[in-house]
Amino acid sequence: MKTSRNAFVVSALLALAACASTSLVGCSGSAEDSASSSGSALSSALSAQVLHAVPNAVASDYHFTTQTFRLFGTTPNADGGGFATFADKSNWSTRHVAVGDWLSRNYQVASITKSGVTLRSATGTTSLKSGKETTINALYHRFDTASSYQGKNVWTVDGKTFADIHTQFGAGATADERTGTGPTAAIGTMTTVVLTSVDTDGVLAHAGLQEGSVLVALNGTQLHKGDLDTVATALTKSGTTVSLTVSEHGAQHTVTYNVD
């Protein structure tokens, strides 16, 4: 899939992390510590830590995960913008973040310079230099960790949680359709669905799709621009395997979603 570095799809990037969630029991600063019961509203202590909230969330939707990130580097630009690239050391999946983006629900990128990044949390700021690592107690909503990338274009998806995401946020994308004649008989007429916008909260973002991603077929059936909700719905069906054919750099390949 195309990686547009202008589109900082935070939810999808969080999903890329394949977080190994720590048990809430005994987890320092856990969400449960901060809530009287799992289905309760957020306590004031937890609310203070959640800098980037999900609407209607309850305490049990959140969990802490100890994560080590390495800052591969920064690409600042002249106007104070640009982006930084973090890698989750557990599997080296990366996140491109700009100022104002969220590394987790409790850490926000405050500034990016040539030499490093400053993160902001409820307890203060943390500076990190390029090439260095930092371990944080990252707070996530269950939507953030509903999918994990296994490598080689294979994802694992929590179908039930994806259904909840679908109910709350929908597919979360718009698309255009392009049709043209391919250069060879092997391609023939080619129709592609290009995602023109992707809502970071929606299902497709959690499936790793981004603005600019080019979709071709779902389980072998040609897609059209009105089919985005069909794709999103397919990813909510537990116990199935979903094959999404995408086009990148002129060639089609399959992304496999194992929906648990």
Binding site: M1, R5, F72, A87, P183, T192, H249, A251
Partner: protein
């Protein structure tokens, strides 16, 4: 190189008391290979069919048309095996299949390889967002980010490869030169680039001067990578405690007179790219990459100038 290896064996034969370990290293080829890379190493579209065609890959291929790195080693050591970890679309830096991720998968295998080939970078460039500003490269990773990601992968490999293992790092192609080759190949190449969004950073850039800036940025990546390779090989960075042999094909840029001395300084032409996406190497291009890889392999032989077709576009 081959001659060096034979010469070393000869010396060993005359100095019997210190032969054992030296003979073992001088007379032995790897028994296991691995590679890390992107669609180029997957032989993507190489035979004009739009899928991975790994048998035509320059590094892991089995077709005699290509004479891949694997095939060349297999001719020398028939029992050799390989662990290809390259993934379509992989970057050096970004995503979940980057160099560090692939390196960790190489290390996760029970039998670590003695030889790893690395080729990344084209997707790092092509995936960068376009800019309407004066600098078309503004959204490309800073060179330090690129080498920072390379270092992460190297650290993974250094943690698991046997002492003295070889890592061969191939420079990335000048995608602006691939654009030139595609334009020369067919009038429908721009159409397929548009429909299939092929490396839009360059294929959607009408200004040759701005495409040249992208090419210059690729040169910068390749030079930074070569400098990092040298630091690893000499252990001047203090990270190569395993005594890894780290080499690269990069010698210098086209602008500095090193045309066709490495993949990164090769001037692509229409006969070397496939007819499906007008961008990936076809069988002829893959064969040239294999030749270049072998020339620059410590166990290999030949000269780069004999590898690349130098016909005009």
């Amino acid at each position: 190189m081959r001659l060096k290896k034979l010469g070393c064996t000869l010396v060993v034969a005359t100095v019997a008391s210190v032969t054992v370990s030296i003979v073992a290293s001088a007379g032995t080829y790897p028994t296991r290979l691995a590679n890390a890379g992107d669609s180029i190493s997957q032989g993507w579209d190489a035979d004009d069919v739009p899928h991975s065609q790994v048998k035509y890959s320059w590094v892991q291929g089995t077709s005699s048309v290509i004479d891949s790195i694997y095939s060349r080693y297999k001719a020398l050591a028939p029992k050799i095996t390989q662990d290809p970890e390259s993934v379509f679309g992989a970057e050096m830096v970004g995503g979940g299949d980057n160099f560090a991720a692939q390196a960790s998968r190489i290390c996760a295998n029970k039998t670590p390889p003695q030889h790893v080939t690395v080729l990344f970078g084209a997707n790092d460039v092509c995936n960068a967002a376009q800019s309407d500003g004066p600098d078309p490269t503004v959204n490309m990773y800073a060179p330090a980010t690129f080498t920072g990601a390379f270092d992460a992968g190297m650290e993974e490999l250094e943690s698991c490869l046997p002492t003295g293992a070889t890592i061969e790092v191939i420079s990335m192609p000048r995608v602006d030169q691939v654009y030139v080759a595609g334009m020369a190949k067919s009038s429908w190449c721009p159409e397929i680039w548009s429909i299939a969004t092929v490396c839009t950073l360059v294929t959607s850039e009408p200004d040759p001067a701005r495409r040249a800036l992208i090419g210059a940025a690729v040169d910068t990546y390749n030079q930074a990578l070569a400098d990092d390779v040298a630091a690893w090989n000499s252990n001047s960075n203090g990270k190569n405690t395993a005594g890894l042999k780290v080499v690269t094909d990069w010698k210098g840029s086209i602008a500095n007179g090193f045309t066709d001395t490495s993949l990164g300084s090769h001037l692509f032409n229409a006969s070397e790219i496939n007819t499906v996406d007008c961008f990936h190497p076809n069988e002829a291009g893959q064969a040239e990459l294999a030749c270049n890889g072998w020339v620059n392999d410590p166990d290999g032989s030949g000269v780069e100038s004999a590898c690349f077709t130098q016909e005009g576009n």
